[in-house]
Symmetry: C2
Subunit: 190 residues, 2 copies
């Protein structure tokens, strides 16, 4: 077994992510994935025995990516505003694609998930909030950002605006998401 996942496995993870962002975890099936990849149902089960294993794999991928992003934010050469925009632009991309935040999507289904996935999801959420909190705290200290709340609370306010903003804008129109983003940046950046 290679250390790197196979192309098929990666394609399944990618498609699963896309389905969750587009339709929700409980609204897609292994058949949806196998059809799109032109393989059979059973092949998907080979890579991820149960649907919860697939979700766990997707969340693990996110945890890995956000750890990398958080690490890259350690570089002292990056301005706080730039870090903020890196986060916001991820959500903007989703919005343009008619998708929603994976975390937000899975949060809705929280009570239908097995304990192992709940734990991972909590870890991912705290990872993201912690990362944003750090960006805010350091940005404020350097005089690049301004806010009156604690960094923890401000990170929650910011991320709920972004995640739910994308969901809202999928229904009421992209202009609403743009307005939210502009407002957030104007308010935060000195």
């Amino acid at each position: 077994m290679a250390a790197r996942p196979t192309d098929t496995k990666e394609a399944i993870l990618r498609l699963g992510t896309e389905f969750i962002q587009t339709y929700g975890y409980n609204a897609f099936s292994y058949a949806d994935i196998s059809k799109e990849l032109h393989i059979k149902n059973a092949a998907v089960h080979y890579h991820f025995p149960g649907k919860e294993d697939l979700l766990a794999g997707i969340i693990d991928q996110y945890i890995h990516r956000y750890r990398e992003l958080a690490k890259s934010f350690g570089n002292p050469g990056i301005a706080a505003k730039q870090k903020l925009q890196a986060i916001i632009s991820r959500y903007s991309l989703l919005c343009e694609q008619g998708k929603i935040c994976l975390i937000g999507s899975v949060c809705t289904d929280y009570n239908t998930l097995p304990e192992s996935v709940k734990t991972r999801l909590t870890e991912l959420i705290e990872l993201v909030l912690g990362m944003v909190e750090k960006v805010l705290k350091e940005g404020k200290k350097k005089g690049e950002l301004q806010f009156t709340e604690t960094a923890r609370v401000k990170s929650m306010l910011l991320m709920t605006n972004l995640a739910a903003g994308v969901q809202l804008a999928r229904i009421t129109g992209q202009k609403d998401y743009t307005a939210i983003c502009n407002s957030l940046l104007k308010q935060l950046v000195v």
Copy 2:
């Protein structure tokens, strides 16, 4: 046929709402409802032929209730802060019950819904946003509230904080929701 829905019909609407707020629209079945009400599957179909009819009925109920709430806000004797708290307390109640906002829950499943439901959902969202926008605008005019954004944008920021805040707090703990609310009120109320 009476103008008022039967007890059973109302119980189905109530349970359906609860399931959506707890598990999500695509994660409960007519069997779940019939079991809890000690009736048979077919009886539920009598009141709501298809699941989408049930969801449409639930959303219609919400539209009706929010129209009433908006109307009650027309009373000039109510302070803006009081109106705000009436809105916030609805979300606090959800939070205490481990439920999430119905609109937020259904938004995740948006792309799996038939056109008739999408239309109703959009109407409900604009109704709520419009109501909040009016509260904010009038509160600012009377010097009771303060904010720099347009009332429309501020209403979106506020409602996304509340809706996603409840979802977040279901996972990270109720204290986070409380912190969000306190921050919102402190920021808004003069």
